[in-house]
Symmetry: D2
């Protein structure tokens, strides 16, 4: 048996290829849409990909099962549990195979047994792997978004992203039951999860690729509660606001996604910074400047949003996504292919073009904003009218915040700038300065005079302590 782990860092997403050397067949579990890596490995190893297995309807990336099926002829294996046809609405032309709890699929001599493990989503299945040529007992489980290293899948996405009422509580209770079944496995079993650290599909995923049932039994916090209600309370507590694009992903992954072979490749464009400013003014157009916050502050094209790559780009494209908008990126030319790949993986197929960063210099009226320390901002407050805007998440705000600050979480800022006065400058902060830099660009686009607070709330507290003591 051949087994290979794949990991997409920008999406924090794991996928797996299993292959049977005896028959030359292989399958991919939870493929992402950028399937080039799977094709290359299959080519090099001499495998034909005959199976594309999906654990559940993903919310955080475009599933690659349809892409794989169309380009290799592989059969798509998907869950029919938990809802009518598992909730899927497939294109009928695809080679489909809906699986049910306990069903065994063979890829050559390799056995993949589907286990219905609802909780993260109602239809979620895991696939138990047995190396049929060498063993009669399973080696491990592809757990998808059921069990992670150090965490379990969050059950509240359907409710928060798609608005399915009471589904969070119901999911948490299903998760409890799924875990009770899972705990019956022997310690030795390997766990191959669907995500790693940085994913928004759980609270506290580890940055370790694989684990075992025995280790998680000891250290995974979600494995500790033995009472259902205690587990539910634990699980629903502290789950953050899901990214905006999760709703869109749920929708597209129910059905076959547009084949990559039908999506035009984004191209480089040239012109002046003023052309870009005019473009950014159009409706349903998003021009994202991927330069560092420091460079952006010193001069940016009116109308552009600053999502520095790699720091903030992928996460905040997801959280600020507008799927109806044409997207243009300002970036270093050598980064164009990788940026394009990231957006493809998130289903942002309306990426229309790139501009090299050098275009910024050719803008007639560049904007700037200043960076100031909390101390400097407090000084301003004493001397003049200035608004303090906190763009952290609700739970961060609830824990502690600057007195008299206004709170609008960054994710909601684009549609809630009317809560601020345009007559005063806005001093915007987050926890450390990363999110406030993004907010600064959004505020500039809405006509505000902006001050970005260096070091954010963490520095603010530290300075205050120093002042007090």
């Amino acid at each position: 048996m051949y087994l290979k782990y794949f990991y997409d860092t920008s999406l924090a997403q794991a996928s797996y290829m299993v292959g049977c050397q005896a028959t030359g067949e292989a399958a991919v579990i939870d493929p992402s849409r950028n399937i080039e890596d799977y094709l290359q490995i299959a080519r090099e190893q001499g495998f034909r990909i005959t199976g594309a297995f999906e654990t559940h309807i993903h919310a955080d990336f475009v599933s690659g099962v349809t892409e794989l099926a169309r380009r290799t002829g592989a059969t798509i294996y998907y869950s029919t549990e938990g809802a009518e046809n598992g909730g899927y609405e497939w294109d009928q032309d695809l080679p489909l195979h809906g699986v049910t709890h306990g069903e065994e699929i063979y890829i050559g001599n390799i056995k993949l047994r589907a286990l219905h493990t609802p909780g993260h989503t109602p239809e979620h299945v895991s696939y138990e792997l047995t190396d049929g040529a060498a063993a009669d007992r399973p080696m491990g489980v592809f757990t998808g978004d059921f069990v992670f290293v150090g965490d379990v899948g969050r059950p509240d996405l359907l409710e928060k992203s798609v608005g399915v009422k009471n589904s969070a509580d119901k999911g948490a209770r299903q998760m409890f039951e799924s875990l009770q079944q899972f705990k019956k496995y022997g310690d030795y079993m390997q766990i191959w999860p669907g995500h790693g650290a940085g994913s928004s599909c759980g609270k506290a995923l580890g940055a370790v690729p694989t684990s075992t049932v025995g280790y998680e039994r000891m250290y995974n916090p979600a494995f500790q509660p033995t009472e259902e209600q205690a587990f539910v309370d634990f699980l629903l507590d502290g789950q953050s606001e899901p990214p905006t694009y999760f709703a869109k992903m749920k929708e597209v992954n129910k059905q076959a996604m547009t084949p990559l072979s039908e999506i035009p490749a984004a191209v480089e464009m040239q012109g002046t910074g003023d052309d870009v400013a005019a473009l950014a003014e159009q409706n349903h157009t998003m021009v994202v400047d991927t330069r560092s916050a420091a460079a952006f502050a010193m001069g940016s094209i009116p109308g552009t949003i600053n999502l520095p790559y790699p720091g903030s780009f992928a996460e905040w494209m997801g959280r600020l996504a507008d799927y109806e908008a044409d997207i243009y990126l300002i970036a270093e030319p050598h980064q164009f292919p990788e940026l394009s790949r990231i957006l493809t993986g998130m289903g942002m197929d309306r990426l229309k073009g790139f501009f090299a960063t050098s275009i910024v210099a050719s803008t007639s009226n560049l904007r700037t904003y200043v960076n100031e320390t909390p101390k400097q901002v407090e000084e301003r407050r004493r001397n003049q009218d200035v608004q303090i805007l906190d763009v952290r998440y609700q739970d961060e705000w609830d824990q502690s915040h600057v007195p008299d600050a206004v709170h609008v979480s960054l994710q909601q800022l684009p549609t809630r700038t009317d809560e601020l006065s345009t007559e005063q400058p806005v001093a915007v902060h987050c926890a450390s300065g990363k999110r406030s830099a993004i907010a600064a660009s959004i505020l500039q686009n809405h006509g505000f005079d902006v001050i970005n607070v260096e070091g954010g709330f963490m520095k603010w507290k530290k300075e205050q302590l120093e002042t007090t003591s």
Copy 2:
């Protein structure tokens, strides 16, 4: 003044960028559709591309003027001479500027003067370049398909490719007149032509990038005849059959070509050789195997055509093109990008996918054909029924050929295989063996038992001489 020469080897096509350092403006003359190189140089040199100049309606590659205009905002300069609006049927949204004979266009301090130079086509203009900041006399001429190094543009394409009656003779006479005007230039003038060796736009283009009026005056055969009729006779003699795709190119270049940003990128596909054979059987589908003729002979997938890369690929895609067909290529993975680029330049936008060459091995019923020397084939003729098929051009056939051979030029073979008997094997030859290898694959697709004649007619003659002497 900044001047840079670009050359696309696969299309034998030259283009030029001129830029004015004082104003930062630049223009490209006769850009090809793959404009990435122009954009990169402009970026590196700090130029804004404001002009896209076209000498005439190209027949042999997709003009890049619309691509440049759309992606940089450059104005398209095109000829309005020789026909209603020069024969163009533009999309009205483009920034267009039709030029007339003698008109002067400035790119910063650089002067480009349009000269109507019909002959190759009725609307053809050349652009005379003057470095305005440093000189009052011109430095050279961008001659497009008017004057080449060692040749002039052929006047018979409209008649042969598009069927405009008597246009060859008329064009030849216009060419004579255009040349008389051109000869008035001083010897010192540089000539920057639109094509180099390998192009089908002339008879005998040199493999030297640039020349001068004085040198061509001495050595270019087309500059020698001083009587119109002698010139016309000289020019129309020996022009070969134009590639099939020239007709299509004429058509698309009259109007704005599909922007690259709307053409999906071709993707790798996998499966078995049998899947590929099934694909090749579909209507309006062309599966091209780019492996060497030797490898193809030893085993190929039924239904595929063999156009070895780089040897025959670009030229014969152009000569066997079917613009209604979906195209799939069998190639080495590292060659996918370059192959895709070549087809884009020829307007073959229906490239749908790639298969790695390793897929051939997974075919259940591989075809083979044998290579035999002329001697072996003559031996066969004595012993059994075998047809000899000559796939060279008409003029090669007319000059000399194997007795009792059948003649169908390769370009016409796909539609004329019914002139052969399927009851006998076909021994196919060309001049040296390159074209017959392509023919062998086409014949196999039509059910013939094929023998490829090694070394072709050149070897045949040589062997005969040896036998006779």
Copy 3:
């Protein structure tokens, strides 16, 4: 904690990076010499590499610990068990830390505990990993060449490669004891081994990256014997001849290997095939043609050896290595970097240059050999004098072979061609045809008239059965 798996397919070699996000420190376990991947990941993740851990003196690849230490300042952790200073003879300028059994090293909050696990080699240590920030019990063990997935390290390399008498038996007994200790671990513990399928460091390594103590306890054949002698007999049985280069690797890995920054990069060369033939004739020069066996058979440059890439290249460079020879490769230009990387990893620092495969065509006296089926060869035997040469390993020969064949294993062929008569053609076979193609090129270099037996011994037996039945 951050954990990442690295795998070098050409060497079947695994390495690992662990990093502590809290302190920004990271370590690599058993790095290979091509450390670019480690540097890139460290850069992207924001880690400083402070530790380079080595499990033992490797025999099959150049250790990257000195390369890492020199280029990042990392401390080298190595075993001082089993021999004076573990058998190492380090350059004193390096930041060194010799570890002893039970010693605990911290990389930030991560604990790596050294365990002396002799058997494969006397000094071998494993490193037990504990995620100190989150757990008080270990998560798994980096087992190096001690425990593999489905196998354990072979104990006979020192004896067979380096000639240490009786060390195979002694190593096998140490391995038994090491395993008894290892079996005390709980089932849940992960195993992160030093090699995967294809490595010559064990008999039957799996193609699965990681395993667990519980799973290996059930299915690893080496875990089954409970008596020492039975284990020793099991372990020493069927271990194949080690590659020649293992001896060299043992030698260089004892001390600091030449830094890559002192090894010149191999360059492309041009000329004629005759120049290459002249080069190949020189003493201490090895010219390797990496084309397919089929292409090589049809025409090769005198004096060259055929090691097709990727099929046979890495393995047989290792088995036919001459560390005193300058190496030249004939290959496709796009493969130069990868081929160079493979040789670097095997310590073959005398790679001097590349020739593009197209150079073969410019050779004045190309050699050829024929491929024949076993049936055709048997026919030859009946009609004329032909020698049958079997180049399989000793154990394959012992099991069964063609009557009256001569046996010289491929690895020994270069120095034992005098056992064959030059007066007769040699029909050479192996099991399937892969090794005999290499042998054919070696035989051609020694002046033999060669026939390569298609399909090898497997086809021979099959044809015989068909004939008999």
Copy 4:
């Protein structure tokens, strides 16, 4: 005949390949050391490179003739005029052919006739090209550093770079004589020069690749004087200080340069910014930070010099070169290969390693300097002690300068910082701000408190005018 133009932008250096399709032979004129491009074109066109022609002993880049000869077997053609063996001191193992005035060399049917054209250097030859298969008169001349587009080679390098007394005047007179001969050519002849705009081998080279004798006769200023003395005065006037590395280049190009196959490839290194600072403190070590001046000003590692890439890097490496020093570069990882290539071309073979720019952030005591406008600096002068340092060339200083400023040209600054007081801050300026940014880093390394004057002398003058008027 095949002719191809090559141009290396970073060195502003042109080279040429001519090839005879009939015989398959090709030659390169004035190859640079990075010969990969020549090898690739030869491979693609099916040429064997049999000649490496050198016009003179280059001062501004490492000649590639020895590299070509060693890797392809090509014969080196070089001048034996003007000095004993032309001044060359070759390694005797090379295939050498010294040419004399009027000698004709054939590459297949192509004739290259050597013309002794001293002036730039005593041994300088040009090569007149005749396409023997098609013409009896020459097509053009490879003029090396004799005639450029819009300029001629400077005659003062030997005197200024190598200290050959009175050679400037002598060279100017030889140049006059060489030009008189050259002017005898017909207008039509093409000129293929050795350099383009940006080269320090002339005063005012154009950015046009090729020209003609007729055009230069009209517009090249050096073609205008008809009296020797007027020409000499014209030619010696306004030639700037040659780069430091020219002296080294003259030295190495007299003999065979170290083959690239003996120069190790520079590697990436990691560690902390403090490690880099320690490295920079060592003798004979040069650590160059290639980031933008803006980024460098905001924080740099002590001891590093700022040569922004691409803006200042190549030129100022050449002007500040220390050939005894080990070189380390701080750069973006994707730029490592190109930076390495540039230094190779300039013979800076002691490039030892690269650091990613992210290393700067891990420095414990980052340095900063401020940028101030001339107005702000003048204000400082009124209020406090501040020194004004002008780092422009002598001729720029002579023309006009800030009153009471100190003048040390940038090229000499590293050895003349003792002319400044360490007790006052230094406000450094050049013409526009590019050179002063480099100077700022050098001054920081010598312990000065630095202010970089934004916009330089040009802004200073402009502000003064505005103030006055």
